[in-house]
């Protein structure tokens, strides 16, 4: 297990978000986390990132508490948050600059090529399409490094066609990368298509995770073959996580 939540409780003020929640993420592959909006999906990432601290319980990365472990996860936000005054290349090198890595520029060139944006290095974000901007954002996330990647509804701001393209694109990217990905989404189809397993957040406040294996779903059409599972998950989502 690369990441473990042990009896974690967290809330903002007196509003409890996570209540005594435990689950673990195996190394490798994509785990899709779904839940109704506002249930605390992003809070999970904030806890892993160290932006928030659990009120009780422990979060372990490779068996050790995450406190004091630096650079374990790279985070890709919902909106690209590219800096408009930096070119695509410079937005990627940012991650290397912060780590004071000398060969950042060369590495950033390679990352942009990997995400299919060769030739767009010196273009400003305002001249890129939504899908391209997300790809720069993805390249920046890769530049941050770390074995864990946290993707927070990365395609929710895109139109449906671009979104479908980007989903397929992500699947192909992940095959080439040796990473463990946590993907937060509110879209069941996206979770089933991209994920190897789905974790559904149960209850409000969230008290546990419902787990489903969706590794057999590899292409879009498979979702419909797994219609029964899809319906079950959808029902569970509506009923606060009870199957």
């Amino acid at each position: 297990m690369i990441l473990e939540f042990e009896n974690v409780t967290f809330g903002y003020g007196d509003r409890l978000i996570l209540e005594n929640i435990s689950f673990s993420i195996p190394k490798g592959g994509i785990t899709a986390i779904i839940g109704p909006s506002g249930c605390g999906k992003s809070t999970l990432f904030r806890l892993i990132n160290g932006l928030e601290k659990a009120q009780s319980g422990r979060i372990l990365y490779q068996g050790r508490p995450i406190e004091g472990q630096k650079g374990i996860a790279a985070f890709m936000p919902q909106r690209d948050l590219l800096m408009p005054w930096r070119t695509a290349l410079k937005n990627v090198t940012l991650a290397f600059e912060l780590k004071k890595r000398r060969d950042g520029k060369q590495a950033a060139y390679e990352l942009l090529e990997r995400v299919g944006l060769k030739g767009y290095e010196n273009v400003y974000p305002s001249e890129l399409s939504g899908g391209m901007r997300q790809r720069v954002s993805f390249a920046r996330t890769l530049a941050v490094g770390g074995e864990l990647m946290l993707l927070d509804e990365p395609f929710s701001a895109l139109d449906s066609l671009t979104r479908a393209n980007m989903q397929d694109w992500l699947v192909s990217q992940m095959k080439q990368l040796d990473k463990t990905v946590l993907l937060v989404t509110h879209d069941i189809d996206e979770a089933m298509l991209l994920g190897d397993r789905v974790l559904l957040m149960k209850g409000s406040p969230v008290g546990g995770m419902l787990s489903a294996d969706v590794s057999q779903i590899a292409v879009r059409e498979d979702i419909y073959k797994a219609a029964k599972l899809r319906t079950e998950l959808l029902d569970a989502l509506e009923n606060g996580g009870e199957r």
Partner: protein, 250 residues
């Protein structure tokens, strides 16, 4: 050429106003009350020697010193207020209050404190200009989004790195707007300081012409002040375009 076309309506308006002015001045026919544009132009030419070799350089020196000090002070104050909330609460109301002081009323005191030399004028200029610079820059620094800051945090950025990589570049557009606003103000401040007590400078020169009932002579330095303000703003705009290339593409 395209630029000329774009600004054509403004040129026409300006020309029409000048012609109107010329006609009214000719009708009144009393240069000590309202000199005509032509008379002013002639006077500038006649007075070119003292105007351009002594008084304009002096006023520009006051302006640039005032502007420089204001920029340094503005950046320091804005950064301080951005970094420490206590500093913001302690300073912001005071900074706003400085703007309610009628500078013209107390500027003679500055002459008393700092003498007839250049620094009393610089002080007037600074008091007038540091406010827009500080406030705009402060707003600019705060305009960076919280989620961007947090993203940088997750990337391991220190507070200093967040300031220099995110906040400062994000504040540059408001910084330039502030400077462009501050230039005319600092020139007004310089002239006002000279008017109140000086031995050289365009403000002083204008006042001296006033005592001689030389209407065109009063206007001559005023015209030069306006032209100087436009030139300085043009220089700043040039740097703005260079530095903020990314804004063009938006």
């Amino acid at each position: 050429m395209k630029k000329f076309r774009k600004h054509l309506p403004a040129y026409i308006t300006a020309a029409a106003l000048l012609i109107l002015w010329q006609v009214i001045a000719m009708l009144i026919n009393a240069a000590y009350i309202l000199p005509s544009p032509v008379q002013i132009a002639v006077r500038i030419w006649e007075l070119r020697e003292p105007l351009f070799t002594v008084h304009t350089p002096y006023t520009m020196l006051v302006t640039l010193l005032g502007l420089l000090i204001s920029v340094v002070l503005g950046i320091a104050l804005a950064a301080l207020m951005d970094r420490f909330e206590t500093a913001e609460r302690a300073l912001y109301p005071v900074i706003v209050t400085t703007q309610t002081i009628p500078i013209t009323a107390i500027a003679p005191l500055f002459v008393l404190w700092l003498g007839y030399g250049i620094w009393s004028k610089v002080l007037v200029s600074v008091i007038i200009t540091f406010f827009p610079i500080t406030v705009s820059l402060h707003d600019g620094l705060r305009s960076s989004k919280r989620e961007s800051e947090e993203l940088l945090q997750t990337m391991g950025a220190s507070r200093t790195a967040i300031f220099f990589k995110l906040k400062l570049p994000g504040a540059l557009p408001s910084f330039f707007s502030a400077i462009k606003m501050a230039v005319p103000l600092s020139i007004i401040g310089a002239a006002m300081g000279e008017w109140l007590g000086s031995q050289s400078g365009l403000g002083y020169f204008s006042k001296r012409m006033m005592t001689q009932l030389d209407g065109a002579g009063v206007f001559a330095p005023v015209v030069i002040l306006a032209v100087c303000a436009m030139l300085v703003v043009a220089v700043i705009s040039f740097f703005e375009r260079k530095l903020l290339k990314w804004r063009k593409e938006m």
